[in-house]
Structure formats: C-alpha cells, structure tokens
C-alpha cells in the first residue's frame, strides 16, 4: 500500500513533522509545505496574550489538507496526559493524540508506565493513540494490545541528533507489530530517515533536524525524498548480505587464456 494508514485515516506522505523550534512561523510553514506532510504535531499550553499575533491554529489552517496531532508534552503522569488529550480534542477536532510523558527534563525519556496507562484509557475513548515510547518490543506489543493506532519508539533522545541508536530494538518492534511503527525523535539527517524506512518503519516523525537546519524548507524537502527512497527500496526488496564477495562480472580471463 502506497499510503500511510493510521486507523481509518490515510496519508500520502510518510513524513510527520513537529512544529517546535523553528525560528519563526513563516519558516515553519515553509518547511511544512516543502515536506509535503499531512500530519503535524502541536502542543497545548496556557493562552498567552503575547502570542496573539502568532496564533498557531490560524497559521496552520492556511495549509490545506493538514491534520493536527496534538501531543501531551508537559504532562508528568497519565492523569495529566488524559486531561490534555481531552482538551486537545475539543480544540483541534482531531482524533489523533501523541501521548508523550517524559517527566525528567535531563533526558526526556518517556515514562513507560504512565504512557501505557494514558494510552490504554485514551484508546478506550476512541482516540487514535500514537504513544512516544522507549524502543522496547514488550511495551510496544502491550500498547498494540491496548488498542493504540501506532507506536512511536525513539531513535535516540529528543533533539539529540544521535540518529538510530536503537535500531536493533526498533527492528524487533517492527517484526512483532501489526500496527504502524513510526520512529520519533533523535534523527539528524535524511539518510537516517531513509534507513528507518528501509528497516520497515511506516513513517518517521522529524522536528529538530528540520527546524535547526540552516535552511529548514530545503531540509524538509530532503527528508521527504529520503523517506520516499527508503520506502521504495524496502518495497523493491533489498538484497541479502553475504559473508564473502560475490562477483558481479565473469571471473574468466580473456587475454590468451581459457577458463
């Protein structure tokens, strides 16, 4: 299937963008357009009068066909995340929720216990739950059984740019999952997004790597190409590795000798 399917929703792009860390709203909008994404994350915060000129909802509404996936960042436990999800659904009208509970600002690692509990509750309330999780195959399977629409294991720490440090664990998650596996966090370059897609991920979620690039729109386009290439390569069937050389040309000599 050429489209990304999450629940009953389909997306032609397999690149999901975070909206944080951009230098300004225009830079973010340019990157979203250049990426071709149809799904972006947003966060919920107390209204600030100083942000009136930059109302995010209005800004994102200028891009046709964009679906919002609010996150629960700022929640330190399941109860807070569930509350944030309810408010976000009222505000966005979107069934998607990125469950994100990382109580320790030093490493921002997701709390697996609170994440599981919040996801279980929200899945039972017909949210399309997309939990941000450690790359743990057991937790991923438990979340699938709890009704999550996808799982989003981290490649490495949020914003670290350390790439696919958890690649082997992500492969195990993919092998066991029947819901989309989406790498979220840590990617630094398009080649890593391509590798994640070749590995079997259904999509990747990128924020810092694009927002912190010198030219965010150009980097967004580069990530879009890489995600497409990785997906296409996987669909084409990647050759198996061999422990020794396998010749691509005939090994027979041609100058005065016969084989």
């Amino acid at each position: 299937m050429n489209v990304l399917q999450i629940g009953a929703h389909t997306f032609s792009s397999r690149l999901i963008l975070g909206t944080g860390k951009f230098g300004n709203v225009q830079s973010m909008l340019d990157a979203i357009r250049a990426s071709g994404t149809e799904l972006v994350t947003v966060a919920l915060r107390r209204f600030n009068r100083e942000q009136v000129e930059h109302d995010l909802f209005t800004a994102l509404s200028t891009i046709e066909g964009l679906t919002l996936m609010p996150n629960t960042s700022g929640a330190s436990n399941a109860a807070e995340a569930v509350k944030a999800a309810h408010i976000s659904r009222e505000l966005s009208g979107s069934p998607f929720i990125k469950v994100e509970i990382h109580p320790n600002p030093q490493h921002l690692m997701p709390d697996p216990i609170e994440t599981y509990e919040a996801s279980r509750i929200l899945a039972s309330e017909d949210f399309l739950v997309m939990p941000y999780i450690p790359a743990d195959p057991v937790l991923a399977k438990r979340l699938e059984d709890a009704g999550c629409a996808s799982v989003m294991p981290l490649g490495s720490a949020i914003g670290s740019g350390q790439g696919l440090a958890t690649a082997e664990m992500i492969k195990l998650i993919i092998r066991e999952s029947s819901i989309p596996v989406i790498v979220d966090a840590g990617l630094r370059s398009p080649s890593e997004a391509c590798a994640a897609m070749e590995m079997g991920c259904e999509a990747v979620l990128v924020n810092s790597a694009i927002a912190a690039a010198e030219n965010p729109a150009q980097m967004a386009a580069a990530f879009a190409s890489a995600v497409k290439a990785g997906y296409k390569a996987r669909a084409a069937g990647i050759m198996p590795k061999s422990g020794s050389a396998v010749a691509t040309s005939p090994l027979t000599s041609f100058l005065g000798k016969t084989s």
């Binding site: 973010m28 966060a43 919920l44 209204f47 942000q51 109302d55 996150n71 976000s88």
Partner: protein, 67 residues
Amino acid sequence: MITITLNGEQRDIHDGSTVDDILSTIGAEKQRVAVVVNENIIYPEKRSSLVLRENDQVEVLSFVEGG
C-alpha cells in the same frame, strides 16, 4: 467584584462576568482556545451564558509549536 483563578493567577472580576467576558479581557476572544472551568471543558456555545463564581478555577489554553 469576585475573585477567580485564571491560568494559575488570582484575578478580580466583575460580578456577573461570563466566560466570554474573560476571554475578551485577556485578548482571546477571536482565538481558537479551550476553556476549562473547575476541571470541566466549556464548549464555545456555553461561553456567553456561563457566569463565573467566586473561587472558580479557569484555564484558557491554546496550541503552541511542539514536536
């Protein structure tokens, strides 16, 4: 006047003020915001009629950039 808590800060407002009145006061009347009063989400159609009471806990929230 009565006292409410608005986004974590105490605030004196006129008796009879509605949720919509508060949104106007803080410049949020034209924004896409969620309103929560005492843990209950207040939908837009109720905001012009819901009169706030002493000690109400009011949260006004909106979307911001995030990953």
